[in-house]
């Protein structure tokens, strides 16, 4: 009996030792991979930062209004954001590769699923981000143009444009993620149609002025409103 127990213990021990002997190198390999990944990711980050510094992307993003958006989201500047993301993406890849080396059953499959889904998430985020930037820019353009043209309810116009673009961006993002495709498209059609109707009404009310003046100008009544302002220069 004692013999059997000892044998079993020995068996367990040798198994354990065997397992540890088998696991430890893998674990070390994983750590090494993660460490290398850290280094590589850091190098990538620095390289991208230098590259973006050269291309003056911060200036571009400021001009496009993206920076303000980032600030609103308490995010760092564009170049910093991009280089940080490359760091994390790279390192994450290395970590996942490292984990797979451990050879834990099931984990492998989960990781590969994550890998497959990762690009779609990324694309969706980018779509949302671009949508936000474009919506912001265009709505402001419309607002300023309308205000300087003396159009009433300029802000409604501006908001409608922003709304429509947001809707479009969200729809596209969801589509990309593959979430309930049918529903999304139908919902979008409904919302878009409603927005267009709203815009048409808004323009009908607010744009009377604009239309009248445009007509006046074309029909030869040269006395436009601006003529009643003094020459600025």
């Amino acid at each position: 009996m004692r013999e059997t127990i000892l044998q079993a213990l020995e068996q367990v021990y040798s198994n354990l030792v065997h397992m540890v002997a088998e696991f430890l190198p893998r674990f070390l390999v994983m750590l090494i991979i993660i460490a290398i990944g850290l280094l590589v990711a850091f190098i990538f980050k620095q390289m991208l930062r230098a590259l973006l510094g050269l291309t003056k992307i911060d200036r571009v993003s400021e001009e496009a209004g993206a920076s303000r958006f980032l600030r609103m989201a308490h995010l760092p500047a564009m170049s910093e954001l991009l280089s940080r993301s490359i760091f994390w993406v790279t390192w994450l890849c290395f970590v996942l590769v490292g984990l797979s080396v451990l050879g834990v059953a099931g984990l492998q499959e989960q990781i590969s699923r994550l890998f497959r889904f990762l690009p779609e998430i990324f694309v969706a985020i980018v779509i949302l981000f671009l949508g936000a930037v474009i919506a912001n820019f265009l709505s402001r353009t419309a607002l300023l143009a309308a205000v300087n043209a003396g159009v009433r309810s300029a802000r409604i116009l501006s908001w409608s444009i922003r709304f429509v673009i947001w809707i479009l961006a969200i729809t596209m993002a969801l589509e990309e993620l593959g979430v309930a495709r049918q529903t999304v498209v139908a919902a979008f059609s409904i919302v878009f149609g409603a927005a267009m109707l709203g815009l048409a009404i808004a323009f009908g009310l607010g744009g009377q002025d604009l239309a009248r003046r445009s007509l006046e100008r074309h029909l030869g009544d040269t006395k436009t409103e601006n003529d009643k302002e003094p020459q600025p220069l």
């Binding site: 209004g65 609103m72 300023l144 302002e229 003094p230």
Partner: protein, 414 residues
């Protein structure tokens, strides 16, 4: 271009203005014949797309029979008056046209140059007045001065002039104009700067040129030209476009020449040739009410933008005056200056798209103009000059505010 070294060079942009360029060329030639008989001269016509048409014009102008009578020493030039054309497939923007003129001036080692619009009422004496200070007195930048209606040029009077004077210490009244003179030295200096791709330079190079002269310690002056000549294509009808070309351009110049004003202060005497700035005051049909309306609605509608652009205190005060009934509304000079400086520093920090920023300024210009028209409806020229001087002093006084805002780290506003 087989012209060789010249003393005087005049650049005219033809701008598709076929009918007026003939007159302009005639006026320039007459100016040479009257005031510069001995000098070696060349006219550079920066051409538009319609080559055939323009060539026809030039031919007509050059083949005009010599009306000179040897016994009556009349108007004549001792030397050949050269005409050179630079062809472009489409009318080049002013900056590109200027670059062509500068390149010609540099190549021909011109001593004095002028850039002129193909204006129908260009006078020979005006051409000469632009050239003389650079040729005879060694000035490097010659800005024009005009006789004008007292309500004309309000943007220059209320913003461009006082602000540029306060910031750059150089009191040029007409920093933005279609005609100006410069020395060959300044031409070479400007030509060699790497700015020609910048949109601001392509659209409006003249202020940058004047500021380049100041930055290099070259001398500026102003010269009286009489009535302002109206170029055939009046860009003045669209206020937003004018603001973009001038106010936006001035902000851009501020940014590019920080070393000139941010931590140092220099000032240059700008002598004036001929009578100073003259004002006339016949009645004109203006509509201050509409301007006020646009100011009021502009401030209200643009509030989300203004919160980003303006200092919170400034915004509060602006909101206060907007709330006043039209009769009581006045744009106080100190508030006006602060508003302008807020816009300038926001331009520098690019808190929003810069084109948008300048557009957002339009309602404020209208508000100021409304205030000005009402305040000065019965003012004499002397009173207006006094008010102008006060405004200049205000711009000067608040310069530390501009510097502070300019250097401040941008805070995040939501």
């Amino acid at each position: 271009m087989n012209v060789g070294e010249v003393d005087l060079l005049v650049g005219v942009s033809s701008r598709d203005a076929a009918d007026t360029i003939t007159h302009a060329l005639g006026a320039i030639e007459q100016s040479f014949q009257q005031y510069f008989v001995r000098q070696r001269v060349v006219i550079v016509v920066v051409g538009s797309g319609d080559k055939d048409k323009r060539d026809g014009i030039l031919e007509a102008a050059s083949s005009a029979p010599s009306t000179r009578n040897p016994r009556q020493p009349g108007i004549t030039s001792l030397r050949t008056i050269h005409r050179v054309t630079a062809d472009f497939s489409s009318p080049p923007p002013p900056g590109v046209a200027l670059r062509t003129v500068l390149a010609a001036a540099d190549l021909l080692r011109a001593r004095a140059c002028a850039v002129l619009p193909p204006a129908a009422n260009l006078s020979p004496s005006a051409v000469a007045n632009l050239l003389k200070p650079a040729y005879h007195e060694n000035f490097d930048f010659v800005a024009p001065l005009y006789k004008r209606h007292k309500f004309q040029g309000l943007l220059a009077r209320n913003l461009l002039y006082p602000m540029s004077r306060a910031v750059f210490g150089c009191s040029i009244r007409e920093l933005y104009s279609d005609e100006w003179g410069f020395s060959g030295r300044l031409a070479s200096l400007c030509l060699n700067q790497d700015v020609w791709q910048e949109e601001a330079i392509r659209a409006r190079p003249e202020a940058w040129m004047a500021i380049s002269a100041i930055a290099s310690d070259l001398r500026c002056c102003q010269t009286y030209l009489g009535e302002k000549s109206q170029p055939p294509t009046v860009a003045g009808s669209d206020i937003v476009e004018v603001l973009r070309q001038t106010v936006g351009n001035l902000f851009w110049c501020l940014e590019g020449n920080q070393s000139l004003w941010l931590d140092s202060q220099r000032s240059q005497e700008v002598p004036t040739f001929g009578p100073a700035h003259e004002l006339t005051s016949e009645t004109t049909e203006l509509d201050p009410h509409r301007m006020f309306e646009m100011f009021r609605s502009g401030v209200t509608e643009l509030e989300p933008i203004l919160t980003v652009v303006l200092d919170p205190d400034t915004l509060v005060e602006i909101k206060n005056i907007v709330a006043l009934p039209e009769g009581q509304f006045r744009f106080r000079p100190d508030l006006w200056v602060r508003t302008v400086y807020d816009f300038a520093s926001s331009y520098h920090h690019a808190v929003i798209n810069r084109a948008h920023l300048v557009q957002a300024f339009a309602p404020f210009y209208r508000g100021m103009t409304n205030s000005f028209l009402i305040e000065h409806s019965d003012s004499s020229p002397a009173e207006m000059e006094a008010a102008s001087e006060m405004l200049c002093a205000e711009f000067e006084l608040q310069k530390p505010y501009l510097r502070e805002r300019w250097k401040a780290n941008v805070e995040v506003k939501s």
